[in-house]
Symmetry: C2
Subunit: 396 residues, 2 copies
């Protein structure tokens, strides 16, 4: 039969990036294109022991339907940790467990955005969020950023002149793809603008605990006294992504709408792993575990940067990351990173061209994203060496 898809979905195109990423299925390819955490960092032994106990003592509950809002103890332990450690959450807030951080983004868009409404995003930004916004026919307006985050003057001008802005999307800490950290001053300014223009902030923070250098900058939500921030957190990068567990902390009124949206979407998140995560939080020292992950990523990030300094001959610009998973690299002005990444792909080493993170994916950009959390030290060295060969051929 002839399918007539909805307007919201028919506008969604498979990403150009897919072509390039296809080669990563070849095991001989070195991939700097992923957003995956290091599998060595998964606390598999601890989870295995908890799982065995749940199967032995509590299987009937763990395998049965659960409530949409999430497993009670996981909600409580998460909210408590976020409050005590980061001052996130006030009495007007509530928490919901999500099936990964991505789900909070999708559900918030569903709950707030009518077709044609506006979402303001950092430029460049996370492709998964941009596609979620597109999947509701939102109009995306990009706000330029520098190393300190979004340009607040452009943001205010945009808020002044744009109707139906539903929220401002930001990854303030170790942004994807740029790795940038929004300065404290700009965080305060952003909060002030959100209040002034009555626009919600979606603070997407899957990486914020992965700091391995520099100084802590408090989450925007920790300063939110009026309920204009939704904080989306995730266990994907600090426990494991395959379990699909995240959480959102936001004003009760908003969480109750997200609960309705989640109820009709997946009813609830896998209950067994919600119980594993809760037990992990009870029994083990998550902070110590995160510190170990940070050590690992510091080593890999430094190795990648040092190797680039050594091999790229200054032809690529980047800023040393202080946390997160990504290194944002730029070819000299005028070069097309899509073309460059296609060429490195032919040499079996892959990065993600910057256009994948653009609001207009046809945009030509000299920047590309490199991931250092997944590849081994050996792969990092070999991959940078291969890229260097392509680079010196490409940029004369």
């Amino acid at each position: 039969m002839n399918f007539k898809f909805s307007e919201r979905i028919s506008t969604l195109q498979p990403s150009a990036i897919r072509e390039i990423l296809k080669v990563t299925q070849d095991p001989t390819v070195i991939s700097f294109a992923a957003g995956n955490p290091a599998p060595e960092s998964f606390p598999a032994a601890e989870m295995a022991s908890i799982a065995a106990e749940i199967f032995a003592n509590n299987a009937a509950s763990a395998l049965q339907y659960g409530v949409t809002e999430g497993y009670g103890p996981l909600k409580e332990l998460t909210a408590k940790r976020m409050k005590e450690k980061y001052n996130i959450g006030r009495t007007f807030d509530d928490i919901i467990i999500t099936s990964g951080g991505q789900q909070a983004i999708e559900m918030l868009t569903k709950a707030l955005v009518n077709e044609g409404d506006v979402i303001l995003c950092e430029m460049p930004s996370f492709i998964g969020a941009l596609n979620a916004f597109r999947s509701y026919n939102a109009k995306l307006i990009g706000i330029p950023m520098d190393h300190d985050g979004m340009d607040m003057e452009v943001l205010e001008r945009t808020l002044q002149t744009t109707q139906n802005v539903k929220f401002i999307y930001t990854i303030p800490t170790f942004q994807n793809p740029s790795g940038h950290v929004m300065s404290l001053e700009r965080r305060k300014k952003l909060l002030e603008l959100a209040q002034k223009y009555n626009v919600l902030i979606l603070e997407d923070s899957p990486y914020f605990e992965l700091r391995f250098a520099g100084e802590y900058v408090p989450p925007i939500k920790s300063m939110d006294e009026t309920g204009c921030v939704l904080f989306s957190g995730s266990y994907s990068k600090i426990l494991a992504p395959g379990i699909r567990i995240g959480f959102a902390i936001a004003p009760k009124e908003l969480i109750s709408k997200l609960t309705v949206a989640k109820q009709v979407s997946d009813v609830h998140t896998n209950l067994f792993f919600q119980m594993i995560a809760a037990e992990y939080l009870k029994r083990y020292d998550l902070d110590a575990h995160i510190a170990k992950i940070c050590d690992l990523y510091r080593t890999r990030a430094e190795l990648m940067c040092n190797r680039i300094d050594e091999k790229f001959g200054g032809k690529v610009q980047y800023v040393r990351p202080t946390g997160g998973l990504f290194l944002w690299c730029s070819l000299p002005e005028g070069y097309d990173s899509m073309d460059f990444c296609r060429k490195t792909g032919e040499k079996k080493v892959v990065a993600v061209p910057g256009s994948s993170f653009s609001i207009d994916e046809r945009e030509i950009t000299p920047s590309f994203r490199m991931n250092y959390s997944l590849p081994s030290e050996e792969q990092i060295c070999k991959g940078i060496d291969l890229m260097a060969e392509v680079l010196h051929d490409y940029v004369k």
Copy 2:
């Protein structure tokens, strides 16, 4: 701040049923209101042994990000079983793993329905589906049904006279809430109408393997030679619901749009339990396991029916179920089941009033839904006895 929710979500009201179901949190309440399978039916020991092996040998993959379409072996084993056992799936079809059957319903609506487009539903129908449709501002038109399923004459007249019908939603086998099984003749007619009017059928079949009496009626999808049926299946009622694993089989073009929708929603379904389910299918005899579940439900359904016959004095009409989880009961014409269920709730026994399954939830209906899969034999007897007391007081 002031939240302005989207039109699609602000129309979604918390269900009236919630008030009544609140009392089910009291452990002294006997609940016939659930849609839960019996926890005794979960293959916990088998899953525990598989889980231990995955943790020991394959944790790095099982806890890492997976692909949106689903874990390869689970897709293959599910497609193979559906094809060999039920003749579901043709060369033009593909399969996607979903986070429970509910997710297929939500994603299909997202992919096909513009605001104001029409979905045709059985009347009454599954509340989770109706709310998913409402969450995209679909216009719902109910088609009356009898014990043989939807009224095909009314359906054809509706198709003739209605613009922008995007799909027909049916639970043909052991329908929720009515327990009805659509006859083979009507299934063929439905397929013919779908082809004639170029309208998709969403065949939602979470219960179809739970037959404990009567004769097998083939799924609509097994007769679909032109690709006008999406078959939504689930492991919730034959393995366990807390793991949130279902699947959809439909033409490739449609599955590829569902994949885009899933990518932006939860990226993929919990990978660890997808691997457990795949290993279960490889190692154990799922059909034998289902046969045991059917034995259990036959016993409970018969007990409930016999006790009703004994105690209700003919004041409630019902048809003996041949499978599934539900018994659909009706008070004499003119009585309001909402009022009746409120009264039984006060006596600590709970059923779901029929209005919860209506397109217009304010509708007054004499029918209510009883679940026999979750309560124990003792609870069934005691609960029916308590209901009988209320009934004889209520219907003179």
